[in-house]
Symmetry: C2
Subunit: 435 residues, 2 copies
């Protein structure tokens, strides 16, 4: 025999055995169905892209290029694995100039980043983006936030959707007289929610912003009240700040549309989101009753990025990226039972193989995910198998049941056994794939 070979995985990547692959697939299917309900269609792009596309100006930027996985092809071409789904979408928009607008797409595919491996960070992970290209209407944002609300309601996850606007944030900086190093100020302000106002103040001081400017910023960040009150109070301060006024106008529209779509949002003037390319509303979604602190989704409007990336025309766009991995983590917390299989019923023949095969056919035709013993095992081995996988029901078919034209259904959890007709099994079992 050969030397013992120990198969192992590459660093930072994972296999998903059924126990994990099943709930992951269910969540992704739930997302897809909701995206499609709002008229978003699927897009798929290749894993392998040309490095000149991935590294183009206005694409991911130099930080992310340090983390790409380069791929060698035999023709010596410069290729790499995609690191996000936004650049491939911009590429598709550039390659297909006649796409009807608005172009509403969703995309759920893995991406790869050769970065440091930390708790919950992997080198291959699933991304899930939904974007609309070609409209400046705030109704687009409202629709995306309605998708967010509907999805998290569907999986019974309580969330808060925090919303801000980059134009308003610019207005606040204008109001405070901050004309340079705006992004520096924005990154400090973004820490308000997590670390409190004192940290923001201190960090801005350390960065060299003057006291008057810091006080002006804090004055706005300390505005309290409901969404409309916050906008009213801020509006009074924005006398000459054109960006600020425009940002407030956008937020008012967004609030109105969200109300019409029954979506609860919470304005938060400190919310920035790191990326520089946002130009209008930005939003971030947090799960309220979970230990997972990473955001569950986040995005915003980026009216200039695609146009600059492909170097032609205007392509206003807005979208959101769902944090599939944090959502999986949060769902794991409340998982009570582990199912290692999709199977709902295991048919155990007792000297009745032929009839049992027909019974399995019948159960499948009635919509039950059904296995039949493939190893000609005894009853106890079959019950052990069902237990080890968490199969919720077994169906015995012995000579006695056969004579009575019945089957014996056993609920593996309660141990309760019922004699019933094969055609009644479907009604008797409870569907087992709720999230």
């Amino acid at each position: 025999m050969t030397e013992k070979f120990e198969p192992i995985n590459a660093k930072g990547v994972r296999d998903f055995l059924p126990e994990e692959a099943i709930p992951r697939k269910r969540i992704i299917e739930t997302l897809k169905a909701i995206f499609e309900k709002y008229g978003y269609s699927p897009l798929e792009t290749p894993a392998i892209e040309r490095i000149d596309v991935l590294s183009a100006k206005f694409a991911g930027g130099s930080e992310i290029m340090k983390e790409i996985f380069k791929v060698e092809d035999q023709g010596g071409r410069e290729l790499a694995l995609r690191y996000d789904l936004t650049v491939p979408m911009a590429k598709v928009v550039g390659m297909n100039p006649n796409l009807p607008k608005p172009f509403k797409r969703y995309q759920i595919q893995p991406v790869w980043r050769d970065g440091p491996i930390k708790l919950g960070r992997y080198r291959e992970f699933m991304q899930c983006d939904v974007d609309v290209v070609g409209t400046k209407s705030m109704l687009a944002e409202a629709e995306i936030l309605a998708i967010v609300a509907e999805f998290f309601a569907k999986i019974s996850m309580d969330i808060t959707i925090r919303v801000n606007n980059r134009k308003l944030m610019n207005g606040i900086l204008d109001y405070a007289g901050i004309k340079e190093n705006k992004m520096d100020a924005i990154l400090s302000i973004d820490k308000l929610e997590k670390f409190g106002i004192d940290v923001v103040k201190k960090e801005m001081e350390q960065k060299g912003f003057d006291d008057k400017a810091i006080d002006a910023v804090l004055k706005i960040l300390e505005i309290k009240g409901n969404n409309l009150e916050m906008l009213e109070k801020t509006e009074k301060l924005m006398k000459n700040e054109a960006d600020g006024k425009e940002g407030i106008k956008e937020l008012r529209e967004l609030l109105e549309y969200c109300e019409l779509m029954n979506v609860a949002i919470k304005l938060d003037f400190s919310l920035a989101r790191g990326l520089e390319y946002y130009t209008g509303p930005v939003f971030e979604v947090f799960m309220n009753n979970s230990k997972v602190t990473s955001s569950a989704a986040g995005g915003g409007r980026y009216d200039k990025m695609i146009g600059m990336f492909i170097g032609r025309g205007e392509y206003p766009a807005t979208g959101i990226s769902f944090g599939i991995e944090p959502i999986f983590e949060a769902l794991k917390e409340r998982k009570k039972t582990t199912m290692k299989t999709v199977t709902e019923a295991l048919v155990i023949p007792i000297g009745t193989l032929k009839e049992a095969i027909k019974l399995a056919n019948e159960l499948r035709a009635s919509g039950i995910r059904t296995e039949i013993d493939l190893l000609e095992r005894g009853i106890s081995s079959n019950l052990n198998y069902a237990n080890s996988l968490g199969i919720p029901y077994v169906v015995f078919l012995g000579k006695k049941e056969l004579a009575e034209k019945k089957v014996k259904l056993r609920d593996m959890k309660s141990g309760k056994e019922t004699l019933l007709a094969a055609s009644d099994v479907k009604k008797a079992i409870v569907s087992h794939h709720t999230l």
Copy 2:
């Protein structure tokens, strides 16, 4: 402005715009649902694997290693993209020795091969495998062929399932006195269906097999009749050939199980399938009324491969790989209409934006995939948009409809318009996503 940048794709890979991504996803969802109905659970493995796993003895072999895409990681590890789904599954079985048996899994993921690009051959393509590990029962094969039959019936594709057995093929070679270069003979015999008996004969002569041996092989290949008759006639010749007898026994069992599961198969003693690792039944599926000549699915039993690959224990296994790409090609042939969107209805507000937003909510809640005008366009621009995407229905909401508590539904194909209550729209539209 920046220099004009022309985004293009790497060689041999594709974007799937909604027009293609939609039917691809529908087919994959159809497959998944059927796999699960038979108790197969999803497995997912990473795109990136260690080269020592991919190139291990009994894995893909040296030919395939010439076509791997190597991946560089910053730690200088030897990695590559997976080229199939069988080796990753064998790896998972090796890494998880306590997996309950039988292990029934399906896996639908892309694979990468840096091979020559021909018509219909790409460097990134989807694979779809369903396998069961841990049973020698022919019922496993029958179940897999039942999945095949059910799937192709579901997409209304007429097929022929050709079946042979490697043990029987060995028996035939034993009967003909061929003891050496068996694989050479098998590869010639495999050409019978495509090129006819004269080509097989000539090729075997050229390979140096003696006339007596060739005549003996052809004698069996020329056996005619239905499945059982073919087995009977062959059985009479297999007097001392243990492998041949065992192969016939397996085929008899398989035929019996297939009959119980209503699966029509056609025995074909010339069918070999190229891979060396098959040990029992082999099968290949062809689409009867399509120009696509590649097989639509193929597989067989490989009782020794996994055990040899991971160097421990016995892991009998059987499975099939669906040729997702040929199936897509065949379905394209009969495609009558092109849909570039999942959207079923486009809501067009006519001075009724707020009410139209609520109408869109209502239509979505009733299960209709709904878009609403996001560009505040006029009626004719909206109709152009619907036409360009193939959206089958538009719903007008004007002041007049509003006053009557009705909406106007227009069938974009017939042009027919109907005034009806919003709650009746669902009934009025025909679902548009049949395959």
